[in-house]
């Protein structure tokens, strides 16, 4: 009888070109996504070696990290950012790579763009010079972020030298309550397992809850895997996945569909397959979550209180104290009712159409609180277009919000969307690191629903109160 295999191993093994004894595997990459910030040095390295891109057809580029979220159709005013986008334009043209640059109808945050175009397909290996490549795992892919040297390696050879990570399975059971989203599940897992709890592992999310999640929710969950230190996270593809993929721009054509489907249906973890670590969580009693500190593992129930030092393990105490100091919080304080200055809805975590819908559903008929600056940033041109089609832009406008243009925006604040020093931002993105949203900025991570409730009240608010 064949040894039972995990989904991860099935995909990994079918991409091994060669095994190096006592070394990494030579892994073939099916899809390489490229953006303007982590690629210039890789293309330059290629040129120095006198090489061309080995498989341009497996490479797709977009501009997202740097781009402004207003007046995008005009030339970029920041000369350094413009240079990066210009270089990517030139590099992709020279090497015959598809490029969805500013203004292109397919432009968007790289991890929103790939899935919505059907580029990401079950069973693939997907890489990108960006850690949140883990998002694509929602489709049953082995997807992980790489550094620029590795970007160069994939451009040159379509392969990478990679050590096989350990495997972890997280089983989720129970139905999330009202107002509890995939983002809250991710923040909850992080609060239990910590920001380094899954280092050197690839996570498979399984269990009855996962089956009921939509593709967009699955993407949010897989997206945050990296925040636990994991190399990536994945979910076995099922009818939900196949249904999502049907008819998308780069999905398999109708003639090929059945063939591909047969292959995709074999992508699951065999019963009895072994994981290095396994967890089980019941999420039916979960509350909406929020972070209070400076790493995404520092999360609590929205209705809870900031921990007190006696509950923090000794070796984390120092970091805990510094985090509270940076955030301007006291131990034992509740977070509900605290004033916020900024709200950011967007990013590859929560910048998809379902996120905008969720946000709009709560602000509809209400008004943005005075004193709150809100950036509502669609994850891609397609998301923006859909939002306008559904009238979400109008709902936002009536409530005093403005739908901006797609990009990473305040998720990493490389463009003008920066939170000023000392200000509090309730953000639907994925990182609350010091200075992530601008030097001195203070980030609280939460779901789009919590963002909406807080944006209309001006203080941190439980979305269930407005539902």
């Amino acid at each position: 009888m064949k040894e039972p295999k995990t989904l991860f191993d099935k995909i990994w093994d079918s991409h091994v070109v060669r095994r190096i004894e006592q070394g990494p595997d030579v892994l073939y990459i099916d899809l390489h996504l490229v953006h303007e910030v982590t690629s210039p040095q890789a293309f330059a390295g290629l040129a120095e070696r006198g090489l061309k891109v080995f498989r341009p057809c497996k490479t797709v580029a977009t501009a997202d990290h740097n781009v402004p979220t207003v007046n995008q159709e005009q030339p970029m005013t920041d000369p350094l950012s413009r240079k990066q986008v210009d270089q990517l334009t030139r590099n992709t043209r020279e090497h015959g790579i598809r490029f969805f640059g500013p203004g292109h109808p397919f432009q968007g945050v790289v991890h929103v763009m790939g899935p919505e175009l059907g580029l990401t397909q079950p069973g693939m290996t997907v890489v990108c010079g960006d850690s949140h490549t883990s998002t694509h795992g929602a489709f049953g892919t082995v997807a992980f972020g790489i550094g620029t040297t590795e970007v160069e390696t994939v451009l040159a050879t379509q392969c990478l030298l990679q050590n096989r990570p350990e495997k972890m399975r997280i089983n989720l059971e129970g139905k999330p309550g009202i107002g509890v989203t995939a983002k809250d599940i991710a923040l909850y897992l992080l609060s239990v397992l910590s920001a380094s709890g899954a280092t050197q592992h690839f996570i498979e999310y399984a269990g009855e809850t996962v089956l009921t999640l939509t593709m967009e929710e699955r993407m949010t969950l897989c997206n945050m895997s990296i925040e636990m230190g994991a190399r990536g996270g994945l979910i076995a593809p099922d009818e939900v996945t196949f249904e999502y993929l049907k008819g998308r721009e780069f999905s398999p054509s109708e003639e090929d569909w059945n063939d591909r489907l047969t292959g995709w249906k074999k992508l699951f973890t065999d019963p009895g397959a072994k994981f290095n670590r396994e967890y089980r969580f019941d999420i039916s009693a979960l509350d909406p979550m929020i972070t209070y500190g400076t790493n995404p593992g520092m999360g609590i129930k929205l209705t809870g209180r900031i921990p007190t030092p006696d509950t923090v393990p000794g070796n984390h105490l120092n970091g805990f104290k510094h985090a509270l100091q940076y955030m301007g919080f006291e131990p034992g304080q509740p977070v509900l009712g605290r004033k916020i200055d900024y709200v950011f809805v967007g990013s590859c975590t929560n910048g998809r159409i379902s996120d905008l819908r969720a946000f709009a559903s709560l602000v509809k008929g209400r008004k943005k609180a005075p004193g709150v600056t809100a950036w509502i940033v669609p994850g891609s041109q397609q998301v923006e277009k859909q939002a306008r089609k559904e009238g979400i832009d109008r709902i936002l406008k009536e409530a005093g919000f403005e739908l901006r243009q797609p990009g990473c925006s305040a998720c990493l604040a490389m463009n003008d969307d920066k939170v000023p020093p000392g200000k509090y931002c309730l953000s639907t993105s994925n990182r609350n690191f010091r200075g992530r949203q601008g030097p001195g900025s203070r980030t609280l991570l939460a779901s789009p629903l919590t963002a909406a409730a807080s944006a209309v009240t001006g203080v941190i608010t439980d979305p269930r109160e407005l539902m």
Binding site: S14, V17, R18, I20, Q22, G23, P24, V26, Y28, D30, V37, T38, P40, Q41, A44, G45, E48, K58, N66, D78, L80, K83, Q84, G129, S131, G145, I146, G147, T148, T149, E150, E152, T153, T157, Q158, C159, L160, L161, N163, S196, T199, Q200, G229, R231, N295, N315, N318, G319, H322, L412, A413, M414, P421, R431, F433, R434, G435, R436, P439, G440
Partner: protein, 196 residues
């Protein structure tokens, strides 16, 4: 880019006991706009090292005159967060050749290795031994011998683990692209067999 060989390093060290120093702290995103690999050292730990007006913060280890050297000794979970290789470039550009910590984030570890920056993972206890030693004598010499996989602090020896393949690459200055270019036929064959 061929990597600089790493064999043996003898140096004093700079201590950075904080845990979870993420790549946004190592190199804030606003400095990612360059299109070359050089010059990032200036921005290394920018917001920990300088105040908003650009004045050095006297308490930060890199600003303290007693600390210098080519080894950074950092608290647990160093380099978590973003995949930006710029973080590794900044450390190298500043002059570091090795980072000692009790735990490294995965992508950072790869990025470091790809730039000839040796991540040395030691136990929590030994990390504390090193911090204490630096505390007692900021000029204390630390030897890192990659061939023998050991860290030496005076008489005290600690053996560390490293993937044998990566070790060979560093000792010889080999890079992945050269290795993989040599496998092109195998890669093509793989493509034919898997109909991709």
């Amino acid at each position: 880019m061929p990597i600089e060989k790493f064999t043996r390093l003898v140096s004093s060290a700079v201590p950075l006991p904080a845990e979870n120093v993420d790549t946004d702290q190592i190199l804030p995103a606003r400095f990612l706009k360059a299109v070359t690999r050089e010059g990032f050292g200036e921005y290394l730990f920018r917001d920990l090292r300088f105040d908003s007006a650009g004045n050095p913060l006297p308490d930060f280890p890199l600003n303290r005159p007693e600390y210098a050297g080519r080894i950074l000794v950092a608290g647990r979970n160093f380099g978590s967060g973003s995949s930006r290789e710029h973080a590794a470039w900044a450390l190298v550009d500043y002059g570091f050749r090795a980072v000692i910590s009790s735990f490294f984030a995965d992508i950072f570890r790869n990025n470091a290795l790809n730039n000839g920056l040796l991540p040395v993972q030691v136990s929590e206890q030994y990390l504390n031994v090193i911090f204490l030693a630096i505390d007692r004598d900021p000029k204390v010499r630390i030897t890192i011998d990659l061939e023998k996989q050991k860290v030496m602090l005076g008489e005290d020896i600690y053996w560390f683990e490293i993937n044998p393949f990566r070790k060979q690459c560093l000792l010889n200055g080999w890079d992945d692209v050269d290795y993989l270019l040599g496998l092109q036929n195998e890669i093509r064959k793989y493509e034919e067999n898997s109909n991709t």
